[in-house]
Amino acid sequence: MTDQASLARTRIMEAAIACAERSGVRGFSLEDVATQAGVSRTTIYRYFPGGRSQLVEQTVTREVARFWGRLAAAVADLPTLEDRLVAGLVIGRKLMERSTILANLMDPELLELVEAVQPSEPLIHGVIRDYMREMLAAEAVAGHLRPGMTPDVGAEYLMRMTLSFMSSPGGVDLTDDTAARHVIRTQFLAGVLA
């Protein structure tokens, strides 16, 4: 894809996000996006021949990926694995609550969105698993892993727990740092770190 093409696609997707943030995912039309992006509908169809549903799918996928990327960046400078996981959960919940798109993703009525995000899920899960594995490999080198624990096994587990908690905190108040830290220490890390 040429630079110009990818710039145009990005502009259209960002316009779609702005419209979705304003009117919700169900509430916006291709006309709205065209106006917002300053392009014609024809142009949109050129980059998204599948029309609105393709635009929604790719935009949502992109937003989900950006969410995780933003999280990783936000916690990168924290000193310990525990700190990063705690901050990740707390910040993650805040980001989810502030984003109309991500909130819409949690809305059970929007089958369209659920379907849109499905194809990219294994990819996202792989990225999170790799992220965890890298952190655990560093802990292994420092001799911090429990006997018998490996970065692979630990990463799989932490990935599952992270995804699960991020979407369904299950009664834990993730705006409460103390509560979040208790969960990370007991449910995430007690079996992983020595």
Binding site: L111, V114, Q118, F165, V172, D173, D176, R185, V192
Partner: protein, 218 residues
């Protein structure tokens, strides 16, 4: 019914249910229960998309008018009731069984194993997972899973209170439910919760250290 976080006397967040449904399905009107079970049977046979109110009514042996009267919200409200009923049934089963277990480890292992086997052999759930994945994800949306986790924790808490302090007991049940759902939704190559040895490995490796280390009590 929702799960919320409230502060205990030390200012720590603890989960609470407001209010809690009874675990006894017997308190439902018999006709409601019949309709809910009928939906599950239909979904197990031909999936959710093709299951209509007339199908459900026929299967339940009631009139369509009755179904609409009992469930003014239509098919989706039948569905959510049916899910709740199944979860309550499963939890009642697990709780009764766990009374026999001698140790915290056995409680967790038997409970999670039985839950996994129950869910893997559940016709409606399996149909949705294999053929109507998006619909399943929609039914088990994040918020609903949240409620299910809190309910699981609350209902199984008495079982774990034999071994743990009350707030840890509730956390144990929620945690176990979370892992069962995770492995059901996204199967792993090397872990099968229908294999009791695999469950024991998970419990020993990840759960017991977090439940029994006194250092973690704030």
């Amino acid at each position: 019914m929702i799960g919320i976080a409230v502060s205990d006397e030390h200012g720590h967040a603890v989960p609470a249910l407001v209010p809690v449904d009874s675990i006894l399905t017997a308190v439902m009107a018999p006709a409601e229960l019949r309709v809910a079970d009928a939906l599950m049977r239909c979904v197990g046979r031909w999936g959710l998309a093709k299951t209509t109110i007339p199908d459900i009514a026929r299967e339940a042996g009631v009139s369509r008018a009755t179904v609409y009267r009992l469930f003014p919200g239509g098919r989706s409200s039948v569905l959510y009731t049916a899910v709740r009923v199944e979860v309550q049934r499963l939890l009642a089963l697990l709780t009764a069984e766990a009374a026999e277990a001698d140790s915290l480890e056995d409680c967790l292992v038997q409970g999670m194993h039985h839950a996994a086997v129950f869910l893997e052999s559940h016709a409606a759930l399996t149909y949705l997972r294999d053929h109507e994945r998006a619909e399943l994800d929609q039914v088990l949306s994040f918020e609903r899973m949240d409620v299910l986790y809190v309910v699981s924790g609350a209902v199984t808490a008495p079982v774990f209170e034999r071994f743990l302090a009350p707030e840890d007991a509730m956390a144990a049940g929620t945690w176990a439910a979370r892992l069962v759902v995770s492995y059901l939704a996204e199967p792993a190559d090397d872990v099968d919760l229908c294999d009791v040895d695999d469950v024991r490995a998970i419990v020993r490796r990840f759960m017991l250290p977090g439940l029994t280390r006194a250092a973690f009590h704030p």
